[in-house]
Every structure is written in structure tokens, then in C-alpha cells.
């Protein structure tokens, strides 16, 4: 059984569970592939276009495979005021990727998100869900370096 099918197995094919199902698939696979869309459509007996429409509406759903380390830069108001654009630029300069991209080795991917709820520590980023706050350039580069080391091992 494919991992998609495995994720769907526990979910009742009731239309209001569509978003939940997509969340489960993404949790398992890291993104929503074309095959996943087809499989989800079959599971709920709706058209693939309809599933596609829901996927594209919500920012959470990714259509490209993310890197091993998913970096989310917060660009909520507090972080923006505190220099989120600079933070994004520093990451891009260091890793050579822009928002929405994954690097060639598949190690890092970068996305820009709105508020991680830790505004009092602005500017913040998260890597695979762990939040790092009060960032300056030096601290940021150290975090990236540590991950690169850990990721290569």
C-alpha cells in the first residue's frame, strides 16, 4: 500500500474530512504530489480538480517536495517590523535559495509564513517546527551551519 493510501485509511470518506485528509498526507509525505491528489479524489469520490482547488486555496499545502530542513521565516507584523526581510535575505545569500525553493542537495527549503505566535521574540524563524527567536545575523548563520553539519552526518 502507498503511504498516501495508508494515511487515508483511517479517515472517513466524508467530504468535510477533505482538508484533514490532505493534512495527513502532507504530514506523511511532506507535500501533496499529483498522485496524492488523484488518490485523495478517489477516496472521497470527488473530481481531482475539486481537490486541486482546495489544495491551492490554503497556504499550508505544498506542491513541491521540501528539503530535509524546512525553514519558515516569520513575516508577521512584529517580525516584519524587526527586520524579517533582512533575515530572509541573509538566508537566501547563505543558501542560494529564495522563498518557495529547495536547494539542490534537498537539504534546505525556505518559505515565508505569517506569524508563528512568538512575536515577543521577533524576528523568529522555525526549522522543522522548532522556533528560534531574537535573531541577529550571527545567530542565524550559526543555526544554519549547525543544521548543515547535522544534516550531512
Amino acid at each position: 500500500m502507498s503511504t498516501v493510501a495508508a494515511s487515508l485509511k483511517k479517515i472517513e470518506p466524508d467530504r468535510s474530512n477533505l482538508i484533514k485528509a490532505l493534512q495527513a498526507v502532507q504530514e506523511e509525505e511532506g507535500y501533496i504530489s499529483n498522485e496524492a491528489i488523484a488518490e485523495v479524489a478517489r477516496h472521497f469520490t470527488v473530481s481531482a480538480v475539486e481537490v486541486e482547488g482546495v489544495v491551492s486555496f490554503y497556504a499550508q499545502f505544498k506542491r513541491v517536495k521540501p528539503g530535509k530542513f524546512k525553514i519558515s521565516v516569520c513575516d508577521g507584523t512584529a517580525c516584519h517590523i524587526k527586520g524579517a526581510s533582512l533575515v530572509t535575505g541573509w538566508i537566501s545569500d547563505e543558501l542560494g535559495i529564495k522563498g518557495g525553493e529547495t536547494d539542490n542537495e534537498g537539504l534546505f527549503s525556505l518559505e515565508i509564513v505569517a506569524c508563528l505566535g512568538c512575536c515577543s521574540l521577533a524576528p523568529v524563524i522555525s526549522i522543522n517546527g522548532k522556533v528560534y527567536g531574537n535573531l541577529d545575523r550571527k545567530g542565524l548563520l550559526k543555526i544554519l551551519k549547525d543544521h548543515r553539519k547535522g544534516g550531512a552526518a
Partner: protein, 577 residues
């Protein structure tokens, strides 16, 4: 003094500051004193924050690290790192809704019960539904999600419906980017929010209780799930003759889903587009069932109302706004965090007294996020009250309060909000979809240094049209940040368009970077750091190459590199383009 218990702040911002490591370390090293993980006490700037309970009261320690030195200091109750707070940062605060936040174990129902938890529900169970609604009406509670609609009245609409199935939804989408009141409340005292929902179910006859929570809040989701299990186990979901059911749904990242009809569509598994009202959700909501939606903080207030009585609740606040309000205080303040103030305090009280901002260092606050407006420093005597904030062109909003320091650009701030709303517009209404894009283009032109007076006039003209031409609150409020910055900071727009200057030196196209050689020690770090090699051997920045990334400014040990007015920096041969 004898230490009886050690509490470690392990809410999201505590964890982000390193609380998990502190918890692990303390649990390993300390055997004879109970260590508990608590939620947000509001003083997020001091995280990781520890409260040491002793037989003579509590002592707080800030910025604790997993180190022996810190541990010894705390176990010895030494002065170093001690924080001179009790539970309030200032006289201006009034801690009611947050009374238990950060004070009890986040996942312990027993502790919630031991501190007055579920007393409100117990009272409600002995009352007639209509009397509960009456009590909430008497309290004067208005919705904390932004609109300020009277909660008792909303509940009376749902209660009046005859239907087999009625739905109550807790709006935990917290879409304002830069706000975290609801997150803190759900993480720290999940039972308080759920108790409010159970009381709401009793009052309205609701059978299914949905919580629509932002997926970016994993800890809130975990703690709510634990609390719901505990409720089921204790049978607290049996409301006299009937049993109600909780359903926790994770949002998928769309701001518009905070709007009621969009949220209902999203809960049905569809794209979250708003629809025209009427019919109102209380007439036809989730799959056609009568539905009422309230915000997290609104529900968090309800147990207090039942416990102390509507009249006592209404003794705090102003004529039209009762009780307290939570504010997520962030931006350019010394003490960012979660504040709870009685309605009627001034914005200045929050910024200066609670936030600890220095007088004269701040030019404005943005209140109400992308739907709200700014309030300039010379109007900081404005009071926190639904109606008086509206008269200033701002709104109460859900509680996001971003303090904007003197060195930030207001035009760039307005551009930021329009970028947000243009991206988040669901696209259904032409004015919202195209109008926000047009505004964004003009603002980009202005911050890019190519703006004209006509562009500013265009913005002023288009704003009200978008408000009129949009179906839902997103479009109806999207121009607010522009309208209010135009009202109070017109001179900044003029500086960009007439003088081609960004007074705050924030807009990249209107500023240069310069090394002030008098303090330079020629260490060479800037040269090594610059990603585009814009700095020469003579330590001069070529602004034709420089991307304004600020890397050199950050790295310089003498802090002798800064942004300067456009045209005053050096432009090399490759310059011009």
C-alpha cells in the same frame, strides 16, 4: 524560605527561548522538589522564566539556562537574575482572564479544578438556559474577535432556534499576523476556554462544539486535545440530560477563514470563501444547521461571568466596553509579551507603563493588525474602548498591538499590510482582489522611490471604494492601514514622493550604505562578509553594487557602518544602474 515547587514557563515562546532544555536539565538534577511545566505568564521577554514557589510566596527568575550556575542560584534563592515582578508588570494591568495562565500545570485538570475551575459551569448547570443568556447580557461582554458584537445577544439568537442539531464554533484561527493572545490562552488554560464553550452550549442548546485552530499552534492543539479527553473522562460534557461533543479542526493557513461564513465552508472541507449574509450563521450555518461563532478570548471570559456574576463583571471597564482585554504587545518595546488591561486604560499606559517603551522613542502603534489602523504617539491618551478607537480610525481588533519605533517607515508598514491582504484576498470580489493589488503597486512605487503626488491621491481615492465594494470584512477593512497612515503620517508619504527620501532610511531604494571611516579599525570583516563584494580594499561601499542587505552593518564590531540618505553614499564606475 523553603522551596515547595518550581514552575517553568513552557508555552510556545518559552520553548522558542529554550525552555525544553531547561526543563530536562532541572528534572535530571533536582529530585526532591516537584517541577511543573506551566504556560504563558505574559512576561515573554524574560523567557525562559522560572517561578519558584516557597512557603513565603513566589520568586521569579528570568532568562534561565540549563547550567549548574543558574540552578544553584535558583535553589539558593539568590538575587541575581531575579525578576522584580509579581504577576503584573505595572499598576495598569488587571489580571482576570489570565489569572491562572502560567500559574498552573498546563495539562492538569485537577489544578484547574482546585483553583475555581468549572465552578462557572456548575452554576450554569443549575440555571435555566435563558437565565445564563441573561447573565452574559448583563455582563456587557462583547466579542473579543474584533467585531465587538454583544455575546449575550448572539447566544439569544441561537437559543431561539428550534433544531435537532445546533453548532457552536470557537474561532481559534488567530489570523492577525503579530497576535498571540488566543494561542497563549489555549496553551496555558485550555480548560477555561472549553468551560466557556460548555456554558455556551448550555445557554444555546448547541450539540456539537467545534474548535477551528490555526495549524501553526501545535502546543495549543496538544493541550486542547488533552483537556478534551479529561472532560470526557470526568463526564463534564454531559450537560444535564444531553451530551455534547467536541471537534478539534486544524486550519490550513488562510486569513479569510477567520471570517464566519468562510470558516464554515472550511469546516465543511471546502475552499474557505465567504458568502453573502443573510442568511446569518445563526439561521443557517454548518451544513445548514444554526451556528454561532465566538472567539477564544470571548469564551475565556465566560466562566468568570458565571462565577462572579454578570453585574460584578460589568463593574470593570467603560460605559460601552466591559471587562478586561488581552493585548499581544510586540515590536519596539522593552517588555514584549501578553498584557491584560481593564477597558478604559490609555494606549500610552500600555506602551509606556506595561511595555516599558521609552517616551519619545515611539511614533505609533498599529492596533487590529491588517484590518486596523495606526494611532500616532500624540494620540496615545486614547482609551481602550470599542467605540473611541473607532473614532480615531483604528479598531479594537482582536488584540494585536505592535509598537512602531521612530526608526521605522510608516509607508513601508502600510505596504506590508497591503501585501498581506492582497495575498490573502479570496478573490471573490473584484474590488478586494484588484483594488488591493492596485494599492500595493502604488505603495511599492512610492517605497521604491518612483512615486508621485498623483499616486498618493490615487490611494486616498481608491481606499473608500474598496471598502464599499467588498463582501466580507477582509476587503472592507483592507485599506485601513493606508487610510490611517495617510491621515497621521502624510508627511512621510510626501517625503517619499516630493523629496525622494525615506526619513527612516528603511526603504532600500531610498537609502545608501556608508562606512564612517573615522571609527573604522580596518578589521576587514565587512569586506569578507559582503555577499556581492561591494566593499573596496579602501573600505568604501559601492552603492551601485550594494543590495542593502545590512550584513556589513550587523557584522561591524565598531558599529561604524550605517544607512544614509540616498545619493550621499559612494557610487562607483559601474554605477547608474
Amino acid at each position: 524560605m523553603k522551596i515547595t515547587r518550581i514552575k517553568i514557563g513552557a508555552g510556545s515562546c518559552g520553548i522558542a527561548a529554550g525552555a525544553t532544555e531547561v526543563v530536562d536539565y532541572f528534572k535530571k538534577e533536582v529530585r526532591d522538589i516537584p517541577i511543573v511545566e506551566v504556560g504563558c505568564i505574559g512576561h515573554c521577554y524574560a523567557e525562559p522564566l522560572i517561578e519558584v514557589e516557597t512557603d513565603k510566596g513566589s520568586v521569579f527568575y528570568e532568562k534561565v539556562l540549563p547550567k549548574k550556575e543558574h540552578l544553584d542560584r535558583i535553589l539558593g534563592l539568590k538575587d541575581e537574575g531575579r525578576l522584580a515582578i509579581r504577576s503584573q508588570r505595572s499598576e495598569r494591568e488587571k489580571i482576570k482572564v489570565l489569572a491562572l495562565a502560567g500559574r498552573i500545570d498546563m495539562t492538569s485538570m485537577d489544578e484547574y479544578l482546585a483553583n475555581g475551575g468549572y465552578e462557572g459551569l456548575k452554576k450554569a448547570l443549575a440555571m435555566k438556559p435563558a437565565d445564563i443568556v441573561e447573565e452574559v447580557k448583563m455582563s456587557g461582554l462583547r466579542g473579543r474577535g474584533g467585531g465587538g458584537f454583544p455575546t449575550g445577544m448572539k447566544w439569544s439568537f441561537l437559543a431561539a432556534k428550534e433544531a435537532k442539531e445546533k453548532i457552536l464554533i470557537c474561532n481559534a484561527d488567530e489570523g492577525d499576523p503579530g497576535a498571540f493572545m488566543d494561542r497563549s490562552l489555549m496553551e496555558s488554560v485550555p480548560h477555561q476556554v472549553l468551560e466557556g464553550m460548555l456554558i455556551g452550549a448550555l445557554a444555546t442548546g448547541a450539540t456539537k462544539l467545534f474548535i477551528y485552530c490555526r495549524a501553526e499552534y501545535p502546543l495549543a492543539i496538544r493541550n486542547l486535545k488533552i483537556a478534551i479527553e479529561q472532560i470526557y473522562k470526568h463526564g463534564l460534557n454531559k450537560l444535564n440530560a444531553r451530551t455534547v461533543e467536541f471537534r478539534l479542526k486544524e486550519g490550513a493557513g488562510a486569513f479569510v477563514c477567520g471570517e464566519e461564513t468562510a470558516m464554515i465552508h472550511s469546516l465543511e472541507g471546502k475552499r474557505g470563501t465567504p458568502r453573502f449574509r443573510p442568511p446569518y450563521p445563526t439561521d443557517s450555518g454548518y451544513h445548514g444547521h444554526p451556528t454561532a461563532i465566538n472567539n477564544v478570548e470571548t469564551f475565556g471570559n465566560v466562566p468568570l461571568i458565571l462565577r462572579e456574576g454578570g453585574k460584578a463583571f460589568a463593574s470593570v471597564g467603560t460605559q460601552g466596553s466591559k471587562g478586561t482585554k488581552l493585548f499581544a504587545l510586540a515590536g519596539d518595546v522593552k517588555y514584549p509579551g501578553l498584557a491584560e488591561v481593564p477597558m478604559g486604560v490609555t494606549i500610552g499606559d500600555i506602551v509606556y507603563e506595561v511595555g516599558g517603551a521609552e517616551k519619545g522613542s515611539v511614533k505609533a502603534v498599529q492596533i487590529g493588525g491588517p484590518s486596523g489602523g495606526c494611532i500616532p504617539a500624540d494620540k496615545f491618551d486614547a482609551v481602550v474602548d470599542y467605540d473611541s478607537l473607532k473614532s480615531l480610525g483604528a479598531i479594537m481588533g482582536s488584540g494585536g498591538l505592535i509598537v512602531i519605533g521612530n526608526d521605522r517607515c510608516m509607508v513601508e508598514t502600510a505596504r506590508y499590510f497591503l501585501e498581506f491582504t492582497a495575498r490573502e484576498s479570496c478573490g471573490k470580489c473584484t474590488f478586494c482582489r484588484i483594488g488591493t493589488k492596485r494599492m500595493l503597486e502604488k505603495l511599492e512605487k512610492i517605497t521604491g522611490g518612483r512615486g508621485t503626488e498623483e499616486d498618493v491621491a490615487f490611494l486616498a481615492d481608491l481606499g473608500p471604494k474598496i471598502i464599499k465594494g467588498s463582501l466580507c470584512g477582509l476587503g472592507q477593512t483592507a485599506p485601513n492601514p493606508v487610510i490611517s497612515t495617510l491621515r497621521y503620517f502624510r508627511h512621510e508619504y510626501d517625503a517619499h514622493t516630493k523629496d525622494h527620501k525615506c526619513p527612516a532610511l528603511q526603504c532600500n531604494q531610498l537609502s545608501d550604505v556608508k562606512i564612517h571611516l573615522d571609527k573604522c579599525i580596518k578589521c576587514g570583516l565587512c569586506i569578507k562578509t559582503c555577499p556581492v563584494h561591494a566593499i573596496s580594499k579602501e573600505f568604501v561601499v559601492d552603492n551601485a553594487i550594494c543590495t542593502r542587505c545590512n550584513s556589513c552593518i550587523e557584522v561591524c564590531p565598531k558599529k561604524t557602518i550605517s544607512r544614509v540618505e540616498k545619493g550621499t553614499g559612494y557610487y562607483g564606475k559601474s554605477g547608474g544602474n
